[in-house]
Amino acid sequence: MQRYSGFGLVKHALNHHENWQRQWRNPTPKKQYDIVIVGGGGHGLATAYYLAKVHNITNVAVIEKGWLGGGNTARNTTIVRSNYLWDEAAALFEHSMKLWEGLSRDINYNVMFSQRGVLNLGHTLQDMRDIQRRVNANRLNGIDGEVLDAKGVQEIVPILDCSSRARYPVLGASWQPRGGVARHDAVAWGYARAADALGVDLLQNTEVTGFKIRDGRVHGVHTNRGDIEAKTVGCVAAGNSGVLAKMAGFKLPLESHPLQALVSEPLKPVLDTVVMSNHVHGYISQSDKGDLVIGAGIDGYVGYGQRGSYPTVEHTLQAIVEMFPIFSRVRMNRQWGGIVDTCPDASPILSATPVKGMFFNCGWGTGGFKATPGSGHVFAATLAKGEAHPLAAPFSIDRFHTGALVDEHGAAGVAH
């Protein structure tokens, strides 16, 4: 792999940047791999990278029906934080946060991780009690967090309407300074390039059409480019996880919903942090390019169409204008939808399945991007050893029968 560096940039400038190496190969599928990963988004590529790097398993294929990072990795609002309420979730997301902090160096790819802080606003007394409880829980788990009053919030975000005239006045917020944003595409591309350099085959335009299952054990996958044998299969297909599970003959406790986001025309720097509000229900940050990146809740119906309804967009912008009257005349540039796989308890599934050798990493719902490195890291360990990594163990699919749910609806930051 050609290493990226400032020196390399200067060197390539001499020949007009025409001789950069391709970032990854485009290999022909082999007949057999040790491990096959279905889904070439951020989580799948991270899993492949950590399998090769940490566990020395390089005979791995990532099978992607479209192009790398073309699903939810390309469609999220790039927010990274780890201020989750329960110990299990906090441990998983904080593990991820620690990987984020060294990621660009680790994969030699600038993922533009910017720890500009994340505010979760409170607009009612109950919001503030929940925020205090969550911040206290975070600090006990070694995660940074502070409770701010309205004045403290106003100091961080001068353009936020913190007056008592607002319909839902801001009473305070939780503040995680280590939270922030990262460049979503770069995360997928960086992991893809690093995994490819370690020998992982990235098979794009390859759609899984079925699984080879004999005697309750997986032996490989059928694809539109022929059959591929593998004793271990990891499915990391976000919104389409339910469809894969159906092919394998079992159900998952997931519902796939459209989640929409939108960006505005580029503006001069005006917002240097991430502001989220559960109560008026919207979240916003400003990208390095200057666009306001805006998101809110899911469309309530089941949908695989990667698009949602117009009223949801309208509600999203109502919430943003409620918080930031200054943005009332900003024009929106683009709007899109992704398919998120929501779990009943708003926590992910990292689990073995009724089929031996087949594992699922799904159910991240509306908050999967922030978990990309951690999810890949623990799922790689799960695939390599054939049993759940300690951080992944509480997120087994069994919890929907034992009742040991990890209820993160409140602390997930934005209502689901």
Binding site: V243, L252, E255, Y301, V302, G303, P311, P344
Partner: protein
């Protein structure tokens, strides 16, 4: 934006008047006290979530406030029918598959969605070429 026919109001109304309430025709176990954990967990949490025909419960929340059912395609979002509580759907994935076989039409139901591109629509493609 959906335009939904409420079977009680007998009128088409805009989506904003309605709320989706998840999968329809769920059977609550008759004897919950004697359910196994598996049966009870399945009832509470596990849903069909198909990419294709889906029967779902909606409520006309700012209209007549009654619950009713919609049969809808979850990939192209087409609403195939709406029907009252207690009724059975006349269109299901099975009847639709049978119809397609009979008329010999290959549908692109549930494929990968590419924004703006509709390769299955011959008329549009011809128009684009001309």
């Amino acid at each position: 934006m959906f335009h939904i026919y409420c079977p009680y109001c007998e009128e088409y109304r805009e989506e904003e008047e309605f709320h989706p309430r998840g999968q329809a025709h769920l059977q609550r176990p008759a004897d919950p006290e004697n359910c196994s954990d598996e049966q009870w967990g399945d009832y509470l949490f596990f849903r069909d979530n198909p990419r294709g025909i889906h029967h779902e419960l909606w409520v006309h929340s700012v209209g007549c406030r009654k619950f009713f059912n919609i049969t809808r395609h979850t990939a192209n979002y087409e609403i195939l029918e709406t029907y009252k509580m207690g009724e059975r759907p006349s269109i299901t994935a099975e009847t639709l598959a049978a119809d397609e076989r009979q008329s010999g039409v290959q549908t692109a139901s549930g494929g990968w969605q590419t924004v703006g591109a509709r390769p299955e629509d011959e008329a549009l493609n011809t128009e684009a070429r001309a």
